[in-house]
């Protein structure tokens, strides 16, 4: 009996000691891998967001997809976490919040990344891991931010139209052409969709002669994003034309706003 008891105590202390050793071993490595010093804000993308989502998921606050983009789901999860742990509820991944998360959760980077890319095709998987190796920022998010009301495909279609119409124009001229398309969508007298406005017969020469099917470059896409996000250098123009090649006399009768690059923009 006595012997047994001593045995049990021995076993117990052995377990305690090993737990201590494991904790000492694990915690520092965990610290190395933990968050960068940045404050993580809604809308952010990248490695820290992946870790934030993984840690929130580990502790049961987040049940969405781990995709590396700080969207609304992550935001509410983070706020709930801050509420439950009696912290200031600001929805920001600040120093205190991150420390608390590191204390109460575990994060295995390799495992999380492996699961993240598992749902994707092998080619994307490869590019993901390559980027990971090449870029010390770490994991490539599997989602992207999109402006409210527009999908990636809408943006692509707009970029096609802008590239076809204005690829020779300065950057601002490309933002301006994108703005005109968006102003037409808003206007009561034009169709209400991206495709409706772009493919309206005789509306854009690039559509008529097929240049819209050229592959747009990154500049055209960035110009489209700027226009969607609220930049309108044209001042609410609905029409534009090239004064050197315009054939219609009607277009000259529109009140002109300004010229950007080769195009005159008008109401």
């Amino acid at each position: 009996m006595q012997h047994n008891k001593r045995c049990l105590i021995g076993l117990f202390s052995f377990i305690m000691v090993s737990i201590c050793i494991i904790t000492i071993l694990v915690v520092p490595t965990d610290k190395v891998k933990a968050f960068s010093p940045q404050i993580i804000q809604q809308g952010a993308t990248g490695d820290d967001v992946i870790e934030l989502q993984a840690r929130l998921q580990y502790i049961g606050f987040y049940n969405g997809k781990i995709d590396g983009v700080f969207g609304w789901g992550t935001y509410w999860a983070l706020r709930n976490f801050q509420y439950e742990f009696g912290m200031e509820i600001d929805g920001l991944g600040g120093t205190k919040t991150k420390q608390k998360l590191e204390q109460v959760t575990k994060f295995n980077k390799e495992e999380v990344h492996k699961n993240m890319y598992a749902g994707q095709s092998s080619s994307q998987n490869n590019s993901g891991t390559n980027n990971q190796a090449a870029n010390n920022q770490g994991g490539q998010p599997t989602s992207v931010n999109v402006p409210q009301g527009f999908s990636q495909n809408d943006i692509q279609l707009l970029a096609n139209a802008v590239y076809g119409e204005a690829r020779g124009e300065p950057y601002v001229g490309q933002v301006a052409v994108a703005s005109v398309i968006l102003n037409r969508i808003e206007s009561a007298t034009f169709p209400n969709t991206v495709a409706g406005v772009i493919f309206e017969p005789r509306a854009f020469t690039a559509v008529a002669d097929g240049q819209i099917y050229l592959t747009p470059n990154e500049t055209a896409k960035e110009a489209v994003l700027d226009a969607i996000n609220g930049w309108d250098p044209t001042g609410n123009a609905l029409y534009y034309f090239n004064p050197d090649t315009a054939t219609s006399s009607w277009i000259w009768s529109r009140p002109q706003i300004k010229q950007i690059g080769k195009h005159i923009f008008c109401k």
Partner: protein, 443 residues
């Protein structure tokens, strides 16, 4: 022998070319007919819808009970939107056909406004009855004119592809019946527009003066150039400056600069010299700043231009840049239409863009009423399956362009987040938006 062979080869080649040419011709015709058919369909549908629209407005006027009126108005609304769709498919953008489209959108707006309200308790006013009658007459005339054009098209076998050609070569004398017919339709509508000015159809959107918040003395071109060099951080470069034309909402100077690497652009109001649009495009280096640090830069910038009481509304990171929206806060009330957008380069924190158009054109000193519903009461107006996380008092523009005081509720249901606006005066649900700012990447 050799001669015979070459003759034979030539004959074969000739026949081959002929056959190929014939096939090409056939294919071209097939494509042309396809395009023609699309136009014909849109046009005939448009005339049919105008017929229907006229009949339906007549029916709506004859309906005796308010209970039956709502579905009739909804039907008119549906037909106007389909007619607008037809107009959008006709090759007429370069013809001034926008007045007819405008007429259609007016009927749409009128019927939407009346159909969406509770006609049992709030029936059509005599003024609105008059408007409906007016619209009925206009629809009749437009219908008649369109029928004339349709008759000409069918009788003389007119082709829309010919209209295309006529439009493309406009310096030739135009006697195209379709174009002439549409011009008549357009003139009819124009005639009504002038007569309609006092009507309440036009009073749907009360125009408030735009750009009220712009104050100060007019600045000169040189002052504008000087200020833009400062803002765009271009010290010695040659900046082109132009002034806006008669179509501009407010007179502005436009400064621009372009070289191999960068393209800079800026709009500044003549009055007071307020920067309205700033765009700076340059190649980006590796990202060193977080989205949050970018926001601090954006806030510095707002301070520099003395834009006070602006709070961060939304932020997103795209390929090395941060895009931020700031909205104006009046006391503790958020004004969602007074919005300023900023774009910050996350390599060194430079401001790559500033857009104050919405802010400057909307902003004014508001006299905001106090809400008649309390923050606790408003929760009774929302769907019980929704978990509400945040409640704000806000000012938004409703469907008719009027500013209203609302409770803005942010809540989630399942995995989705919603923004719900409840009128702070009467508890009406003004708008519900599903917030989707993240999409699975395709690339």
């Amino acid at each position: 022998m050799f001669r015979w062979i070459s003759i034979l080869l030539l004959v074969i080649a000739g026949v081959g070319v002929g056959a190929w040419g014939y096939k090409e011709h056939q294919e071209k015709n097939a494509v042309l007919i396809q395009a023609e058919n699309t136009y014909q369909r849109a046009f005939h549908e448009l005339t049919y819808h105008m017929d229907l629209l006229h009949d339906k407005i007549g029916t709506a006027m004859a309906v005796s009970t308010n209970e039956r009126l709502s579905p009739e108005l909804v039907e008119i609304w549906r037909i106007t939107s389909e007619s607008l769709g037809n107009v959008g498919q006709l090759p007429l953008t370069l013809l001034p056909f926008n007045k007819t489209a405008h007429f259609l959108s007016q009927i749409g707006e009128f019927t939407y406004k009346t159909a969406a309200r509770d006609l049992e308790n709030d029936p059509l006013t005599p003024d609105e009855r008059n408007d409906l009658e007016e619209l009925y007459k206009q629809a009749e005339d437009i219908q008649q004119e369109l029928r004339n054009v349709q008759y000409a098209v069918l009788e003389d076998d007119l082709r829309w592809m010919d209209v295309q050609l006529a439009l493309a070569t406009e310096d030739e004398p135009m006697d195209n019946q379709v174009i002439d017919g549409f011009k008549t339709v357009e003139e009819k509508v124009e005639g009504y527009e002038e007569g309609n000015v006092d009507s309440s159809i036009f009073a749907l959107t009360p125009e408030r003066e735009e750009y009220q918040s712009i104050t100060g003395d007019d600045i000169t071109k040189d002052e504008a150039i000087h200020a833009s060099k400062e803002i765009l951080n271009l010290k010695d470069e040659d900046i082109t400056v132009t002034t806006t034309g008669e179509g501009a909402e407010v007179p502005m100077y436009t400064m621009s600069y372009r070289d191999d690497e960068i393209n800079a652009y800026m709009d500044m109001t003549k009055k007071g010299g307020h920067p309205v649009t700033v765009i700076m495009n340059r190649p980006l280096q590796n990202q060193t700043l977080s989205l949050h640090e970018g926001a601090l830069q954006a806030e510095e910038y707002l301070k520099k231009f003395d834009l006070k009481n602006m709070i961060l509304f939304q932020s997103s990171e795209y390929n090395g840049v941060g895009i931020y929206s700031y909205i104006y806060q009046d006391g503790d009330i958020r004004v969602l239409s007074d919005v300023i957008q900023l774009k910050v380069a996350l390599d060194n924190g430079d401001i790559l863009g500033f857009s104050g158009r919405n802010f400057y054109s909307n902003h004014y000193d508001r006299d905001i009423p106090s809400p008649e519903i309390t923050e606790e009461e408003v929760l009774d107006y929302v769907n019980e399956n929704l978990t509400v996380h945040e409640v704000h008092l806000s000012i938004i523009d409703n469907d008719f362009g009027e500013e209203i005081l609302v409770y803005e509720l942010l809540g989630s249901m399942g995995d989705d987040t919603y923004r719900i606006f409840i009128n702070a005066k009467n508890g009406n649900e003004e708008k519900v938006e599903k917030l989707s700012s993240v999409e699975a990447s395709f690339s």
